[in-house]
Structure formats: structure tokens, C-alpha cells
């Protein structure tokens, strides 16, 4: 049987506000445990929450960026459950009246394929603290520094049909929130966490299959792996005549294994009700417009501008603008070199590969926009062949200086000078008289193939520095005698 995968996501995005959503404590990551938790975060009796305006501003920006209606009246509710890292015994969140209503995000999947993923809604809520189960001799430690950090939880419709689409959506979301500068996007610190709802159904069937939820995935890679694993598991179960149990699952990125955490029957009754300590928040059109005006350029708009202003292909522009730091790098470098297309290629290919390999971020790249521009200029003006350029790039990566310095010290200048090339060619033709005879005797259509031999020899003799075009022209001229 042919199976279709159906995926919906719930994404927790930590907002980069200075202070917590309901208290004045700092949200900075990495402080000593419980040093960034004030009386409100500790839920001492008599303390009261006051909503953080910046969190509303950020959530509104997000809503506008995903083409959503902004909830002009949003209401915080209490979600009741007991857990040691949940100090109040309830999480303050939104349910019936969230800040961000229905919206959508359009994805480009490459090869011209596109996909629209609908956003069901996004709501504001507070994060919990952390339970630390190691180092306490059988006991657990609680760190409440994270308690009260503002989150938006983005809930999609079950619109994705593959891990590829889900990951593309996740990456797009990442690029939106980082471009808006409402989230630092640092997944290793939990700034974005994904819950993936997965079900499968026979192709052509309309009714959705029973879904499972794999919680708390904190990298695109783990997300892709977890989806593949879960889809395979569900298909196996169904093909063996079994049934999928609605449950919450956990994926371990180290062992590459997943396990069931709890079934639906064990789930809590959260007893939501509107939080009486917080009044409904009313946002008027004027406020929403003022937020819209302050919004940084979104990836979508930036991409259109890059196509228009720099003449990049839509796909290249999409790739570059996915990461706001890459986009900024591109613009800075292009401004110096004046070579948009080449710059984009270098960023996407060699620079991207180098940064990936060395696990560095483009905004902290040792190859600066200035260094790349210096290289691009020398490729463009023919000083460097593309092959030699790669060598120069490696040398730049190794900190050997800028392109011109490296070309100078290593003598890597491309040989386009006709006199020098003529000397090389004459030597080669003299040394390979049999091949020259063969070439000259061959039919026109065979000659092109035979030319390769001479080019290879000449390149070798020039240590790769011969300008290929000049070399070709001169060779043909000489061979044709």
C-alpha cells in the first residue's frame, strides 16, 4: 500500500525580551541556577504578574510576518498541573483568545516546488524552569532561571506531507523570527523547540490517521530523523494489522531511538480558566500599525529585493535571505566587489561548506565580507582561474591574508599573457609531434576531443595558472597551423 504522511508542528519560540513575561527578572541564558528568578518567578505568595509590553510587540511582529490576524483582545489563562519546575502550579498561557490568529507561510522547496503551510494560531505563554536530575544523589534540583521566559507557541495546521516539508517550514520559521530579531534562534540553548505531530494514512484517504506527538526536538537534523523514524514505525504497525496509539513520544538524538512517554489516557485535565490576575490585553489598530512600521525587513521582502536589485535568481535569493546574517554578509561583500552573482555563489558554495565544516556562524566568519570581495574581484578580472581561486580561498580561511597578498606570495597569478602562453604551447607541440600529426590528420568533429590532451599538458606545464580561454584559442590557432 502507498502511505501518505501528515505532519503538523507546534513550535516554542523563546522571545528575546530583556526581561521575563510577567516579572522584571533578566532572561539572559547561562547564569548560576536560580540567580535570575525573582519573587514572582518563585511564585512567592502575594506576588502578582504584570505583562511585558515587549513580548506583545514581538508576538505582534510575528503575527504580521506570517500574514495573520492580530488578536485585538487577548486573554491569558491558567493551565493547571503540578510539576516542580512550574512554581505556581499553573502555566500562564493563552487558549481561547490568542494574540496571533490564523495565518500562513509559503515555502520554496527547490526545483520550483512551493508549499503553503497554514498557521492555526500562535499564543503567548511563559516557559517553565528546568529540572536537573543529575548531580543531586538521587534527588532532583530545580533551576528557575528560565521560569517566566516569554514564549510564543506556533501551532500549524496538519499541512506538511514529508520530513522535507516539515524541516523546510522549521527553517523558514527560524529565518522569520531571527530576521525580526524577536528570537536569537539558538537552538542548542532551546530558543526554538519543535513538537511534531505525525500520522500516516493510505494515499487517497481523506480521514486522518491517529497521530502521535514527538516532543521537544531542538535541531533540524533531529527533527528530520525523528519524523523518518516515526513514519516508518507507524507504517510497520499498520501493515502488521496493528493500531496507532495516540501518545506522546520522545526522540533521543544520540541513540537515534524514540520511546513512548505517555498515552493520551494518562494526560492531564488542565482545568484552563482565564487568569484573574491579568486583564484582557486590548491592542488597537494604531498599535498594530506602529509595530508594523518598526518591523525589520522580512526574508520574503528581502528576497524580492535581492532579485530586483542584484539580479539574483529567485532560488539563490531565497537561499541567501534564509539567514539574515548571510544576507547581511552578501550585501556587505557585494557592495565592495560589485559582483552579486559571483558573491552569492561563493557564499552558498565554498564559504557555506567551510563554515559548516568548522561549525562557525557566518556573522562570526574569519572570512569577512571584505576578504571574500577581494577574492571575487580577482576572479572577475581574470587574475584567478576558478580552480586557483579555490586555493586562494583555502589560504584566506587559513588566515594567510587577503587574496592579493596570497596571489603575490604564492605566485598564483593566472597566465593570460600571450607571449608566455605561446612559449609553453610551442614547447608542448615540439615535444609531442606524433599527437600533433594525429590532430592535424583528424576530421573536424574528432579534433575537439583530441584538443583536451594538449590543454591538459599546457595546464600542467603552467601549474594550473594558464587562463583557460586564452590557452584554448592560442592552441587551436597553433595546431591549425
Amino acid at each position: 500500500m502507498q502511505w501518505e504522511t501528515v505532519i503538523g508542528l507546534e513550535v516554542h519560540v523563546q522571545l528575546a525580551t530583556k526581561t521575563k513575561i510577567f516579572s522584571g527578572a533578566s532572561t539572559a541564558f547561562g547564569a548560576e541556577p536560580n540567580t535570575q528568578a525573582c519573587a514572582i518567578d518563585l511564585a512567592l505568595p502575594g506576588t502578582l504578574p504584570v505583562a511585558n509590553e515587549q513580548a506583545f510587540r514581538f508576538a505582534t511582529m510575528f503575527g504580521l510576518a506570517v500574514n495573520a490576524e492580530i488578536g485585538k483582545r487577548s486573554v491569558f489563562e491558567r493551565k493547571n498541573y503540578f510539576y516542580p519546575d512550574l512554581p505556581k502550579g499553573y502555566q500562564t498561557t493563552q487558549l481561547a483568545e490568542p494574540i496571533v490568529g490564523a495565518g500562513f507561510v509559503d515555502l520554496e522547496l527547490g526545483e520550483g516546488r512551493t508549499k503553503r503551510v497554514r498557521i492555526h494560531h500562535a499564543h503567548l505563554e511563559e516557559d517553565a524552569g528546568k529540572s536537573l536530575h543529575e548531580d543531586f544523589a538521587g534527588m532532583s534540583g530545580i533551576d528557575l532561571n528560565r521560569a517566566g521566559t516569554p514564549l510564543i507557541e506556533v501551532v500549524t495546521e496538519p499541512d506538511m506531507r514529508s520530513a522535507e516539508e516539515a524541516v523546510a517550514f522549521a527553517k523558514k520559521l527560524h529565518s522569520i523570527v531571527t530576521s525580526l530579531e524577536i528570537c536569537d534562534g539558538d537552538m542548542s540553548q532551546g530558543s526554538m523547540r519543535f513538537d511534531v505531530n505525525i500520522s500516516v494514512r493510505p494515499k487517497g484517504q481523506e480521514k486522518l490517521g491517529t497521530r502521535t506527538e514527538t516532543k521537544n526536538l531542538n535541531s533540524f537534523k533531529f527533527m528530520e530523523e525523528a519524523i523518518a523514524l516515526e513514519v516508518e514505525r507507524q507504517i510497520d504497525v499498520l501493515e502488521d494489522g496493528g493500531k496507532i496509539r495516540q501518545e506522546t513520544r520522545l526522540y533521543n538524538g544520540d541513540t537515534k531511538k524514540a520511546r513512548s512517554m505517555r498515552s493520551k489516557e494518562d494526560s492531564n485535565d488542565y482545568r484552563y480558566f482565564p487568569c484573574p490576575d491579568l486583564l484582557p490585553v486590548i491592542l488597537d489598530d494604531e498599535y498594530i500599525e506602529s509595530v508594523r512600521k518598526q518591523m525589520p525587513e522580512l526574508p520574503e521582502a528581502k528576497r524580492a529585493r535581492f532579485v530586483e536589485q542584484y539580479g539574483l535568481s529567485s532560488y539563490d535569493a531565497g537561499q541567501i535571505t534564509m539567514d539574515k546574517f548571510a544576507a547581511a554578509f552578501f550585501e556587505a561583500s557585494t557592495k565592495i566587489s560589485g559582483e552579486a552573482k559571483l558573491t552569492a555563489n561563493w557564499i552558498m558554495a565554498d564559504l557555506g561548506a567551510y563554515l559548516n565544516r568548522t561549525e562557525q556562524r557566518i556573522d562570526q566568519s574569519p572570512v569577512t565580507p571584505e576578504l571574500l570581495a577581494g577574492l571575487v574581484v580577482r576572479v572577475k578580472d581574470g587574475t584567478l582561474s576558478s580552480k586557483i581561486a579555490k586555493q586562494v580561498f583555502e589560504a584566506i580561511c587559513n588566515g594567510e591574508g587577503d587574496a592579493d597578498t596570497i596571489i603575490e606570495t604564492k605566485g598564483l597569478k593566472q597566465v593570460s599573457d600571450t607571449g608566455a602562453l605561446e612559449k609553453i604551447i610551442d614547447d608542448i607541440l615540439a615535444a609531442n609531434t606524433a599527437q600533433v600529426e594525429g590532430y592535424r590528420a583528424a576530421a573536424e568533429d574528432k579534433r575537439a576531443k583530441m584538443l583536451g590532451f594538449f590543454v591538459g599538458q599546457a595546464m600542467k606545464a603552467s601549474k594550473g595558472q594558464a587562463n583557460p580561454q586564452a590557452l584554448n584559442e592560442l592552441l587551436i590557432k597553433k595546431l591549425n597551423g
Binding site: P45, G46, P49, V50, D277
Partner: protein, 484 residues
């Protein structure tokens, strides 16, 4: 000295008739001597009080001291006080010391008011008799075998026994007005949002409001001037200028339109109490007010709606008492569940548990619409009743509670009978309106309270009506037998 009202103390301190230290010491001595009988204090803060009194005396000597500087009062043990235990009369918080002051405590500190101690109350303010306190019941100074009312019974008994000239209190469904009635005092619950809730341990957040128990309406006005403030730390606090509540005290009541709701004189009201309220109406007529019959048709739904909404909110508000970070923790928990179950089972009393259970039930899946949503609809109807009534009258008048103070144990077996104690007071909390109770006579030598309900933020008008009544009568000057 303990006969003085707040107004008289303010004057005497200004005139240097006595010092704050003298007044404070006098009250501390009385508390030490007499409170074994009443049990009105959970914690007496003698050292702090004397330090504050000395500081107040210095400010008074220097001149420019705020009006209330040097006046001692007691705080209900629901208000957090830096460095001093705040127990909410619960075993759960027997050892809890807050690192911050409630805003009202802070306001009074800034005014130079002296804190005598923290008063007893029903556990987490849940009760109408003060019998649910972990620290034992409070005795009514008027009748030692009777309850002082609740939940602010300790504040009421302390003021009635002249162990403090006035006390702070809180009112979620009648917890200021009913003890005021049962102890022969003036008690005011301001409009919801008038006084900050920061640092007041929450029972039901949408209903809780801090207020005052005092001997006279004038004292209540003086104290409310400093208690009320806008506080950005409480999102439900209303940003609105605080008027001088003493400004209109002496205004004539000529032309004041008083509404008397017929629903407040139905079944369950003690006929002697009803008679005293009728008599009070005649006093108001003699003062130039006009009396109008009004209807609050949803009155009978107030108690049922309240006992869904208040427990629902309390079920969440009290979840933080889990034995994890502070408060009572059971010994040797064997796992997390055991820690929660035993800490909470041991830390909370029966009435608190009952309300948490009722609230959790009312909010649970499948019951939310039938209970919580329905109760919220009723709440809106009750508020609308008042809005409609205030179209044609200025103040609403009725009894504060159905009968005078009752004996210990007489209602503890029947929670519903206890809940009906607040039948006339609960609606104002549901509507968010200000309410006030003043003494209007005795039945069987026990005080009876007259309730006045005002429009939103009409505290000044209520206090004016109460003060004028007290100028024309002497019920408020009567002391409990044996209290010299």
C-alpha cells in the same frame, strides 16, 4: 488612651499630648495582658512596633510628618511583611517569612504608621467564623462563646477589644463587613482595583480586596487615604487619583437617594436584625435622605455563583503551596507524588481542602460549562442588577449579615449554613462594588451591622453616609461589655 479613635490619636500626637512610643507601648501592654482571651493576634511585633514608634516620634518632632505618623494599627496576617512571618493562619505558612511588604503595608510604613502585629483570620481567608485558623479560633469580645465573624475575625476582635485602634483586613465575600457587623465596628471594602493586591496572599483574585476595620467611619476615611494607591505591580489596580476621603464626611445627606432592595429582607433574616435595619432607615430619613425600594433580582444566585468562582480561583491560587520551594514540606517524602500529597494534606485545613476540591471540580473537563461558565454569566447578571439600581439611587442599604454572632461550632458541621452568612455581602464582591458595614444596634447584647453599598469608586459618598449616621447615633461608641 485605648478609647481614642484614630482621629483623636492623630490629633493627640500632633499636639504632643502623648508620644507614639507611649501609645504603642500602651497597646502592646493590653495585647500582652488580654489577648490570651481573644486570640486575635498570631504574631505580636513588639520590638518592631517600638522601633517604628521611636522613628515616628522623631519624625513628629522634626515636623512635616504625614497625618498618620505614629498611629499604631494591626495588619491581618494575609498581608506580607518583610522579615515578619506571614502565615495566612495556615500550618502551610507557619514558617514563611516574606522578603517584601504588601503595597498597603509599605504605604502605611511610608506614612509612619506603627505595626503592632499580625492578626488571626480564617485559614487563607476561607471562612466566616474564624474557626478555620491553624492558630485556633478568635473569641468575640461581645460574647466570648461566640464567633467574631470571618475571615478578618482577628482584626475585628482586636479592634473591638481595644487591642488596636484599627486594623487592616481583606474581603473576598464579606470578610471585612461581616466581622465588622458581628463585633460592632465600621468596616469598609473598597471598589475592586482601588487598593493594590500586591503582597496580599490571594484567595480568589477577582474578588479579593483589602480594606479597613475601625471604630468609626471617620477613622476608616483617614486610613483609606493612605491605603489606596495606584500600584503598577497589580495589573488589576485602577489608575485613578485617590481623593481625600475625609473631605465629604460632613456633607449633608439631604436629597441622598437610598435604595432598599426587597431581596435583602426575605427568608433567613433574623427579625430583630430586620427591625434594627428598619430603624436605621428612619434615621436616614430624618437626615434628609429619600428611601426607595429597589430590586436586585439575581440576589439568590450570588452565593451559588460565588461558591463556584471563588473556589475555582483558589484551587489554582493555592497550587503554589506544593512543599517544593517554601512552606510546609512533609517529612521523608518517598517520591514526588508523596511530597505533593502529604505536604498539602498536612499543610491545609479541612475548609481549604474542601474549596480546592470544589474549585478543581468546577473547572474540570465536562463540568466547566455547567459550573464555571454559568457562574460567570450569573456574575454579569448580578453586576447588571446593581448598575440598573444605581440608575435611580445613590446608595443601597440593607443588613450586613442575617443574624448576630453565633456560637462556636454551631455552623461548622454545615458548610452551606456557614456560606449563607455572607448572603448579603457576596454580591458586592461579584460586582466589584464598594461596601461598608456600621453598627446599628444590639440584639441579645450582640451587635448588628447595617450595610451600605455604593457605586464604583463612591467610597467617599459611602463614608459620608456612614459618618452622618454616626453623628446622629451612638451605636458605634458602644463597647463590648467588660472592655473598659
Amino acid at each position: 488612651m485605648h478609647q481614642f479613635t484614630i482621629a483623636e490619636l492623630v490629633k493627640g500626637l500632633r499636639n504632643k499630648d502623648f508620644s507614639s512610643t507611649e501609645v504603642t507601648q500602651h497597646y502592646l501592654d493590653r495585647i500582652a495582658r488580654l489577648d490570651k482571651t481573644y486570640n486575635s493576634f498570631i504574631t505580636v511585633t513588639a520590638d518592631i512596633a517600638l522601633q517604628q514608634a521611636a522613628a515616628a516620634d522623631a519624625r513628629l518632632a522634626a515636623g512635616n510628618a504625614p497625618a498618620l505618623c505614629g498611629v499604631p494599627i494591626a495588619h491581618k496576617d494575609i498581608f506580607c511583611t518583610t522579615g515578619v512571618r506571614t502565615s495566612c493562619a495556615s500550618k502551610m505558612l507557619d514558617k514563611f517569612i516574606a522578603p517584601y511588604n504588601a503595597t498597603i503595608v509599605e504605604n502605611y510604613l511610608n506614612s509612619g504608621v506603627v505595626m503592632l502585629g499580625k492578626t488571626n483570620m480564617d485559614e487563607f481567608a476561607m471562612g466566616s467564623s474564624n474557626e478555620t485558623s491553624w492558630y485556633g479560633p478568635v473569641k468575640n469580645p461581645w460574647a466570648i462563646d461566640c464567633v467574631p465573624g470571618g475571615s478578618s475575625g482577628g482584626s475585628a476582635a482586636a479592634v473591638a477589644a481595644h487591642l488596636a485602634p484599627a486594623a487592616t483586613a481583606s474581603d473576598t465575600g464579606g470578610s471585612i463587613r461581616q466581622p465588622a457587623a458581628l463585633c460592632g465596628l465600621t468596616g469598609i471594602k473598597p471598589t475592586y482595583g482601588r487598593v493594590s493586591r500586591w503582597g496580599m496572599i490571594a484567595f480568589a483574585s477577582s474578588l479579593d480586596q483589602a480594606g479597613i476595620l475601625s471604630r468609626t467611619a471617620e477613622d476608616a476615611a483617614i486610613l483609606l487615604n493612605d491605603m489606596a494607591s495606584f500600584d503598577a505591580k497589580d495589573s488589576t489596580c485602577v489608575e485613578r487619583e485617590v481623593p481625600d476621603y475625609t473631605a465629604d464626611l460632613n456633607k449633608s445627606l439631604k436629597g441622598l437617594r437610598i435604595g432598599v432592595p426587597k431581596e435583602y429582607f426575605g427568608e433567613g433574616l433574623n427579625p430583630n436584625t430586620a427591625q434594627l435595619v428598619e430603624d436605621a432607615i428612619k434615621v436616614y430619613e430624618s437626615l434628609g435622605a429619600t428611601i426607595h425600594s429597589v430590586s436586585l433580582p439575581h440576589t439568590h444566585l450570588a452565593v451559588p455563583a460565588y461558591y463556584v468562582i471563588a473556589p475555582a480561583e483558589c484551587s489554582a491560587n493555592l497550587s503554589r503551596f506544593d512543599g517544593v520551594r517554601y512552606g510546609h514540606r512533609c517529612e521523608n517524602p518517598k517520591d514526588l507524588n508523596d511530597l505533593y500529597m502529604r505536604s498539602r494534606s498536612e499543610g491545609f485545613g479541612a475548609e481549604v481542602k474542601r474549596r480546592i476540591l470544589v474549585g478543581a471540580y468546577a473547572l474540570s473537563a465536562g463540568y466547566y460549562d455547567a459550573y464555571y461558565s454559568k457562574a460567570q454569566k450569573v456574575r454579569r447578571l448580578i453586576k447588571q442588577d446593581f448598575v440598573d439600581a444605581f440608575e435611580s439611587v445613590d446608595v443601597i442599604l440593607g443588613p450586613t449579615s442575617p443574624s448576630p454572632a453565633f456560637q462556636f461550632g454551631s455552623k461548622t458541621k454545615d458548610p452551606v449554613a456557614m456560606y449563607l452568612e455572607d448572603i448579603y455581602t457576596i454580591a458586592t464582591n461579584l460586582a466589584g462594588l464598594p461596601g461598608l458595614s456600621i453598627p446599628c444596634g444590639l440584639v441579645d447584647n450582640k451587635p448588628v451591622g447595617l450595610q451600605l453599598i455604593g457605586n464604583f469608586f463612591a467610597e467617599g459618598q459611602l463614608l459620608n453616609a456612614a459618618h452622618q449616621f454616626q453623628q446622629a447615633t451612638n451605636f458605634h461608641q458602644q463597647s463590648a461589655p467588660g472592655i473598659e
